[in-house]
Amino acid sequence: MNPFSSGTRLRDMIRAIRACKTAAEERAVIRKECAAIRAAISENDQEYRHRNLAKLMFIHMLGYPTHFGQMECLKLIASPGFPEKRIGYLGLMLLLDERQEVLMLVTNSIKQDLNHTNQYIVGLALCALGNICSAEMARDLAPEVERLLQFRDPNVRKKAALCTIRIIKKVPDLAENFITPAVALLKEKHHGVLLTGVQLCTDLSKVSTEALEYFKKKSIDGLVKVLRDLANSPYSPEYDISGITDPFLHIRLLKFLRVLGQGDVDASDTMNDILAQVATKTEANKNAGNAILYECVATIMSIEDNGGLRVLAVNILGRFLSSRDNNIRYVALNMLMKAITLDSQAVQRHRVTILECVKDSDASIRKRALELVYLLVNENNVKSLTKELIDYLEVSDPEFKGDLTAKICSIVEKFSPEKIWYIDQMLKVLSEAGNYVKDDVWHALIVVITNAPNLHGYTVRSLYKALQTAGEQETLIRVAVWCTGEYGDLLISNAGLLDVEDPITVTEADAVDVVETALRRYSSDLTTRAMCLIALLKLSSRFPSCSKRINDIVRYHKGSFVLELQQRAIEFNSIIEKHQKIRSALVERMPVLDEATFSGRRAGSVPAVASTSQGDPPKIPNGVVKPASAPLVDLLDLSSDDIQAPASSGGDFLQDLLGVDVSPATSQGTNQTQKSGTDVLLDLLSIGTPPAQSSTSMLDILSSSQDNKSSVDALGKLAPSPLAQASSPVESSPAMDLLGGFGTSQSVSVTNGPTFPAIVAFESSSLKVTFNFSKEPDSPQTTLIEAQFINKSPNVYSNFLFQAAVPKFLQLHLDPASSNTLPASGNGSVSQKLRVSNSQHGKKSLVMRVRINYKVNDKDVLEEGQISNFPRDL
């Protein structure tokens, strides 16, 4: 016998592991045990196989690799004795999964065991099959399972029922064969069989419409009776849970009724009475009773409308919401989310209570409540709700601020009645929690500011004031610095004074102070500092009296260790000192940024409402750390390394801001400077820095989404097309390249990783739906889809609702549509964002079933379809 495998029993091993004081000791013990087990396996040790596998399960639970024991499981399953089989099957379920090829080998053993005379062995095999069955196994073994649904022992029948669920999920085509045996299970008395039978029928209805119709016709009355008997049943000790007989079965039945009643008036009518009975009679002082009530409310909310029942359900939710038990409040909030689409009036009544929940000490409740409040907001209550939320922002926990700001910003953006209100609210958020605000939010704010010419003066003055009190909020500083650079003159002159504000006295030196403080601030990051330099350049032209001082500051940064800042400082210094005559043209105000393109681009690249904050924005890769020998390669290979993430959105946004392909007006504007700008550019790019390095910093600009406002500012005036050109594979000298491309090339080729062609997902005589795809760079499994709906008919569609369903291997998240009204004859469109995660990424392509409801001329129209023409590899 092997000297290692001899001594330790399972107990001794567990004791040894427990006695370990450090992780290293534990690893050592486990390494020794694993070595012993491997040795035993290679010697084909019969006697201790059972014990070794039990040990492996324990080791596996602790999170160590145990793949070498997989074959042992198969050997144990194939052995004749029950104890060996039992541990073998358990090992099979724990150590293996359906992806492993070893599983192919076990099919035959399972098949034999399913036909075994011993019912316990049959049970073991069914249980294992139910947990790990793959599509191939499902096809091979479906007939056995179907037969076992009628087995004499109920314990086998219940397991066969659950096994069937797995089979029809893997191979939906097989569903038809199981409808009849499944219906038979609904008549059983044994609770286990009933429980699993109802579950099986529910799942059958989901995969097969034929089954759903069949159950609607044949089994509703029976189910209602079962539920009634159960609800009225006398005390039965076996299934009693705090005074209620088998709440689990209650819940299963209610769930199934929900599936049957959805969209079916007759079916809903049949179950009204029993639902009313459950809703009123169930005792609400214990958790089990509340679980049933909760499920009952969900069912009432989902089936066809019955006024009285809905009122009952909403009342129950109201009671839940005012409960002192946090669990109950949590589920109430959860359910109100679902109820809001049906009866928003009823939910609005609880607004005050819900708002209180946002301030709860419990993170789970806060999160639910915040999401609910977000849905509650409409044009009428936006002002008061926003005020409440912003007030709360002051006192909320730091870890909650990220979510809260994201939601507030999204609400403000979506419902703002006027621009001044929007700007006011955003400034409040930035001053309160500017460090938690996402980049795209403050980008959007700047876009809005540029689009409100009459508010420029007001905004820059408000920002100035805000900065005096909240000088530590990074994004507030950025916006303030940007606005000071652009509209500094309005700050001094108090131009465009609104009635609501008091004039303030700010000198030119004060304005420069603001920027200088931000630049010197220890915690300012690269983006902020770069923005400061640009603001200074702009101010140097706006405030001639401070020009000298500004030049000194800029010159100081020529020695910066950060390449990006150093280069900017050198360039700007050169503009200030050597190119006086073109300076004023260079630093003119930014052209108005196009809101529509911005929001479009943003929708394509970043989800509008991100629910969690990731903390600080990633630091921009500093040009210095890049190997200077291969900057161009880096530049072209955007998709492969760490800079990929910002590049995909930043690149787009940059082109957008530059107006390369959108706004001819801005291109003309830059053309004017081109004649004189050419030599400046040559000058700028060749001063002091070797050409290779200057392209490295180009890369920086391209790759930094935070940076774009500022970098655009710098380069937008100088060289819009070279920037675009920089990413195409041409000459080795970037400076040459920049000039060669000047004025000629408008084509942009930023490599954004894999791209997918848009598809026409659905088209009928009245409606066209197109899908645009994008990927989040760091998760290839997730696809962002932007659906665009176009009305082809001459009538306006109202109450437009798009729904989609996906198979289990996909996960779907739908954002709200941009509008629920679709203008006639293609005069505009509605867009909606979808996010799909594919757990079988690379193996299966996407499929989706869609349903579109809308009202045309007061008539409801329903269109349905299946989309299977998705590009592969999504």
Binding site: L90, R99, K158, N327, S364, I365
Partner: protein, 143 residues
């Protein structure tokens, strides 16, 4: 499929039993367990028993030094899962007699057999304690 995983974890955050009903590889499991345990163990008695994590909802309940955590999807009735955890504990109590962490550690396979009788493929199979325990008792008698 409602239940995605069942975990038993002690106060120190060490896993004592783990059963997954969807496949996660070793690395994913370790990180998931770590994240969830950190989140749940930090919560106080008064806070609710539900924690949202990634795309799971974790329903947890504490019994002395042992935490029972059940990961479910969005469709599942959270209150019912809470009741299910209690049923699981009562069942183990009936078998081991006032179950404790060591019972589960040293009889890991038995705890798994019990769980196996109660949950299969993420669905609850049986809710009667005597039905759950009868095959296990039968085995104990035979051996």
């Amino acid at each position: 499929m409602g239940i995605r995983f069942v975990l038993m974890v002690n106060k120190q955050g060490q896993t004592r039993l783990a059963q997954y009903y969807e496949y996660l590889n070793l690395e994913e499991r370790r990180t998931l367990e770590g994240e969830i345990v950190r989140k749940c163990l930090a919560r106080t008695e008064q806070q609710c028993s539900f924690v949202e994590h990634r795309n799971y909802k974790v329903v947890y309940r504490r019994y002395a030094s042992l935490f029972f955590l059940v990961g479910v999807d969005n469709e599942e009735n959270e209150l019912a899962i809470l009741e299910f955890i209690h049923l699981l504990v009562e069942t183990m109590d009936r078998h081991f007699g006032n179950v404790c962490e060591l019972d589960i550690m040293f009889h890991l396979e038995k705890a798994h057999f019990m769980l196996e009788e109660m949950v299969m493929n993420g669905c609850i199979v049986e809710t009667s304690k005597s039905n759950i325990l009868s095959p296990i008792q039968l085995m104990d008698k035979a051996s």
